[in-house]
């Protein structure tokens, strides 16, 4: 009998030992669930929103956005001040002398040179290398390195050793070439001078983007060595781990367990340490949408950045009930011009008010394939802008927002969310069928659209395919659109649902007729949305190619007068959404978050929705000023320089 019990004892011992060895840490001051798991903490390799959000906590760049102001102004960070030359080409940054890395070394202009050189190497394959190519000489350097690597691959060497030595040599030479070619200099340790290829009015906004934040060269270069065979710089993971990572931001990484949790603690060497109102941050990894909501409801989490549970629409409906119950008070607060979080804070305590839906810097749209020939060889009727216009008119966007999404989102008439970019006024777009006030108007719009199809000789038996990816509720939106098109245009439709990776491959290779899409802006300039429609752009899934449109963007790039430049860009957007319709905008995404604004303050309500979480204060915890931090009105009409 004892023999039989042996496996049982073994199992028991195993469980006991494991439980005893794994002790949790005390709860952090601020616990939040990020949009997803962090993919990397290497700023130059980042492209995901959740990664960038954490990067802004543990690293710090030259400048930052004032995320709690309505104008999102650029304010100092590592750079105390800066000047821009008359022609808009030369930026001189003056670094503060009290900025330190977590190992005590000062943050210098050389650190930025090291980091930006790193980002510019084709070896690193940074998703955002294009932003660095705006620096004078950068494109030439990138091309040179690419060519040198290709040449190296074709050269013959007497031995493996000789090859490895030549690889090291090429790397040394590359560093020299960078110094010669790229107009990024450090006349002294606290001055950084950047010269641009052409004036980039949003260059400071790019500098506030975490991919431009510095990394510590002496550490990182140890993990990047030229490959002895290909001479490419090989990255080894490891330097972004707690205990190894050397960073310069408000917080320090103290624990990171894969797909489990991340713990940050206040960095005592940060120059603005006393401004912090929280000492520690926990970022548990919770992937199940329902578990995320439950974790907030049981109080173990303070902020959920993206609520994805299927019933979030119901939660938002409950919140509207709450507002209706307090209608008078709500209207009074709203009339004062308060931001939505501040309104919630002042309303009576109620768990229903914790869910917040705020407009995001992103838009949901449908792509039309603009190539003359479809992937299967048939002629593509959507090559004709009149066809695209007809289909764009006949989508009841209002119904999609109100009945399918149910997240309080706004209908989009333009590609760029209105009001999200200071100084830019976009076009109007065209009316869609959902705006008709009565049956007659509805019929008039449908008639106009059908006339367009007729004019364009739309083939009568052509089946219009709607391609979308599984999950995320895209199927319901596609059904609604297909029904609109059948009803108002009398065309046949087919819904095709594909797994996300395959969906992306199809989009990239233009194997679709119409397909769902979404885009979030990266920086505060219209080009972040408009560029994806340029003929040569890597994200031009529509294969839209219009020399006139490209010429407008080129003209805007050369224009020195900011107002005139914005007018040209508005004309380019007008071309997209009023004439050409390579895509049809449907709605502006809302961010759905969960937090108690009477407890957590310092989150931004700006449509750019880029949070700097070191501004968080937990009200009433006795740490920090414990005063609400509402959105402030813009300081001036023109952003400070």
């Amino acid at each position: 009998m004892l023999r039989l019990l042996l496996p049982v004892f073994l199992l028991l011992a195993l469980v006991g030992a494991s439980v005893l060895s794994d002790r949790p840490m005390p709860r952090a001051d601020f616990v939040f669930i990020n949009r997803g798991d962090v993919n990397t903490l290497d700023p130059q390799r980042m492209s995901w929103m959740q990664d960038l959000r954490v990067a802004r906590l543990i690293f710090e760049g030259l400048v930052q956005n004032d995320v709690l102001s309505d104008d999102y102004a650029i304010i100092p960070a590592i750079a105390e001040s800066w000047t821009v030359s008359e022609d808009g080409l030369t930026y001189t940054f003056h670094l503060r002398d009290n900025a330190r890395w977590t190992n005590g070394s000062p943050v210098t202009a050389q650190d930025f040179r090291f980091t930006w050189r790193r980002a510019l190497l084709p070896d690193l394959a940074s998703d955002y290398v294009g932003m660095f190519l705006l620096i004078r000489g950068a494109q030439d350097f990138y091309d040179w390195r690419e060519q040198a690597l290709n040449d190296f691959g074709e050269r013959q060497f007497p031995s493996a050793r000789a090859r490895a030595e030549a690889a090291d040599e090429l790397w040394e030479h590359t560093k020299d070439r960078f110094d010669e070619m790229v107009a990024l200099t450090a006349p002294d340790p606290l001055t950084l001078v950047v010269e641009l290829e052409r004036p980039i009015p949003y260059f400071l906004d790019l500098c506030a983007f975490a991919v431009f934040y510095p990394v510590y060269g002496p550490l990182v270069s140890q993990f990047e060595r030229p490959d002895p065979v290909t001479a490419r710089l090989m990255r080894r993971p490891g330097w972004t781990k707690p205990g190894v990572l050397i960073s310069n931001g408000p917080f320090e990484l103290v624990r990171w367990r894969f797909k489990r949790d991340m713990r940050l603690e206040a960095n005592d060497l940060w120059w603005n340490r006393e401004s912090l109102a929280i000492e520690s941050i926990d970022i548990p990894s919770v992937n199940d949408p329902n578990a995320v909501t439950l974790a907030f409801q049981t109080g173990s989490v303070d902020w959920v950045s993206d609520v994805t549970a299927a019933y979030r629409g119901d939660l938002l409906a409950d919140k509207l009930d709450f507002y209706r119950e307090h209608a008078e008070e709500y209207e009074r607060l709203k009339a004062k011009g308060l931001d939505p979080y501040e309104i919630d804070r002042r309303l009576p305590e109620d768990p229903r008010k914790h869910i917040k839906a705020t407009p995001a810097f992103g838009v949901y749209f449908y792509n039309f394939n603009c190539r003359p020939i479809l992937a299967d060889g048939r002629p593509n009727p959507f090559h004709d802008a009149r066809v695209r216009r007809a289909f764009a008119m006949c989508i009841d966007k209002q119904a999609i927002v109100d009945e399918v999404r149910r997240l309080g989102e706004s209908v989009a008439h333009t590609l760029i969310p209105p009001g999200s970019i200071g100084g830019y006024t976009g076009p109007q777009g065209i009316p869609h069928i959902g705006q008709a006030r009565n049956e007659a108007e509805r019929e008039a719009i449908a008639q106009e659209a059908r006339a367009l199809l007729e004019e364009a000789d739309f083939p009568p038996n052509f089946v219009v395919e709607l391609l979308f990816n599984t999950d995320g509720g895209h199927d319901l939106i596609a059904q609604a659109i297909a029904k609109n098109w059948q009803e108002y245009l009398g065309v046949q439709t087919r819904l095709t649902q594909k797994e996300i990776k395959i969906f992306r491959e199809d989009l990239k290779n233009h194997r679709f007729i119409t397909a769902r899409a979404g885009w979030y802006g990266d920086y505060g300039d219209p080009t972040t949305f408009l560029n994806i429609n340029q003929s040569q752009d890597g994200n031009n899934d529509r294969a839209y190619s219009n020399p006139e449109f490209d010429a407008l963007l080129d003209r805007a790039a050369a224009e020195l007068d900011p107002a005139e430049r914005m007018a040209i860009l508005a004309e380019a957007e007008r071309m997209l959404v009023e004439e050409e319709f390579p895509l049809v905008p449907i709605f502006i995404y809302n961010n759905v978050q969960l937090f108690d604004s009477a407890r957590v303050t310092g989150l931004t309500a700006h449509p750019r929705s880029k949070n700097n979480l070191y501004l968080i204060d937990i009200l009433g915890d006795g740490k920090g000023p414990d005063k609400p931090r509402p959105m402030r009105p813009a300081r001036s009409a023109e952003p400070a320089q």
């Binding site: 009998m1 023999r3 039989l4 042996l6 496996p7 049982v8 199992l11 195993l14 469980v15 494991s18 439980v19 002790r23 949790p24 993919n39 990397t40 903490l41 290497d42 492209s47 084709p122 070896d123 394959a125 998703d127 955002y128 290398v129 690419e146 002496p218 140890q222 993990f223 490959d227 290909t230 490419r232 990255r235 080894r236 993971p237 490891g238 972004t240 367990r257 894969f258 797909k259 489990r260 548990p284 990894s285 919770v286 992937n287 199940d288 578990a291 995320v292 439950l294 974790a295 409801q297 049981t298 173990s300 797994e499 990776k501 395959i502 992306r504 491959e505 885009w519 890597g538 994200n539």
Partner: protein, 335 residues
């Protein structure tokens, strides 16, 4: 016995090689590029470079380079050539921690830049093993107890109710059981935490959820074995010489009836201890089960191969352990 263990251990690499070849072949065919970012699309030359860096541009090169790294051949040859020592020296010179070079190198994760597959497995496997062990324990207690009760009075009310319970355990998917347990015991009663791992309390609900299908199976196996055993001659003898009923049941009958359960325990333990995607997701357990699904979705080749090879190895070793136990418990089985 030694013979058996030796033979099985010699078979292990062969079986693993076959599994490796088939899995890699299938994973290679999964459409999509693992290095592609969903929204910001890198230039084609950049993708091409990265493919080259990871040998993703050629199946045979990937096949053999991965094999060399994962089996430790690369490590051995680097150690023999003194390359490891040189790396350590270099690091020491610059005052930095020496690069970590595992013997069995399962490669980098393509989706998660900052992690190697070794680190991912090292972080998640112990969690899955703990949870799986707890689940198997619970399954044994519930399963054997209900099985014995059922066998003592076959077709009685007690037997029928254990049948119903085990049917539920087998048929109800764990996301239903898990969600119900979570709602009742965590949210309504507040006895257990939500979305947390690490405390003894946090293990209970996922372990129970994970255990139920195994418990149901064990119950049926025990019941069948007990009914067979209770009809055997030696039981009649034991009763005839006046042994107490409890002693007859537990000492004489269960010992034999347990053998089928024991052989089920091998694969069951391997399965439970390598993690369940659904249980881990519902209870936010940072175990290994999630990687089986996520890695395929992301086409993270290194991670797919890593978890599959670990699972296969565990399955083979657990089966071996059960065979050894079997012979030890029941000396009649030899050869």
């Amino acid at each position: 016995m030694t013979n058996l263990v030796l033979r099985r251990l010699l078979q292990l690499p062969l079986i693993l090689l076959v599994i490796y070849t088939i899995t890699l072949g299938l994973a290679w065919l999964v459409p999509g590029n693992p290095l592609e970012n969903p929204d910001r699309r890198p230039k084609p030359e950049v993708i091409e470079q990265m493919n080259r860096q990871y040998n993703l541009d050629s199946f045979p090169r990937f096949y053999f380079s991965y094999l060399r790294n994962a089996t430790g051949i690369t490590w051995l040859s680097d150690a023999a050539a003194g390359r490891l020592a040189r790396e350590r020296e270099l690091a020491a010179l610059s005052g930095l921690p020496a690069p970590h070079r595992p013997i069995f190198d399962l490669g980098p994760s393509l989706e998660y830049d900052d992690w190697t597959v070794n680190e991912i497995v090292a972080g998640s496997l112990p969690i899955s093993v703990t949870l799986g062990a707890a689940a198997i324990l619970i399954a044994l207690v519930i399963g054997v107890a209900t099985g014995v009760i059922g066998a003592v009075r076959p077709n009685s009310l007690a037997d029928l109710s254990t049948l119903v319970v085990s049917l539920i355990g087998i048929s109800l998917p764990s996301f239903v059981i898990g969600t119900v347990l979570l709602l009742v015991f965590a949210l309504i009663l507040g006895w257990f935490p939500v979305a947390e791992w690490g405390t003894p309390r946090s293990i209970v609900l996922p372990a129970v959820t994970l255990s139920l299908p195994f418990a149901a199976y064990i119950a049926r196996l025990t019941r069948m074995g007990m009914i067979d055993a209770l009809g055997a001659d030696y039981i009649r003898t034991a009763r005839a010489k006046g042994a107490a009923e409890l002693s007859v049941l537990l000492k004489h009958a269960l010992k034999n009836a347990f053998l089928p359960v024991l052989s089920f325990l091998g694969p069951a333990a391997a399965l439970a201890m390598t993690g369940s995607f659904i249980v881990e997701r519902v209870f936010t357990v940072p175990g290994m089960g999630q990687h089986f699904v996520n890695a395929v979705q992301n086409k993270d080749l290194f991670l797919i191969m890593g978890v599959v090879l670990i699972f296969a190895t565990m399955l083979i070793l657990f089966n071996l352990a059960v065979d050894v136990l079997y012979r030890w418990v029941d000396p009649r089985i030899e050869s």
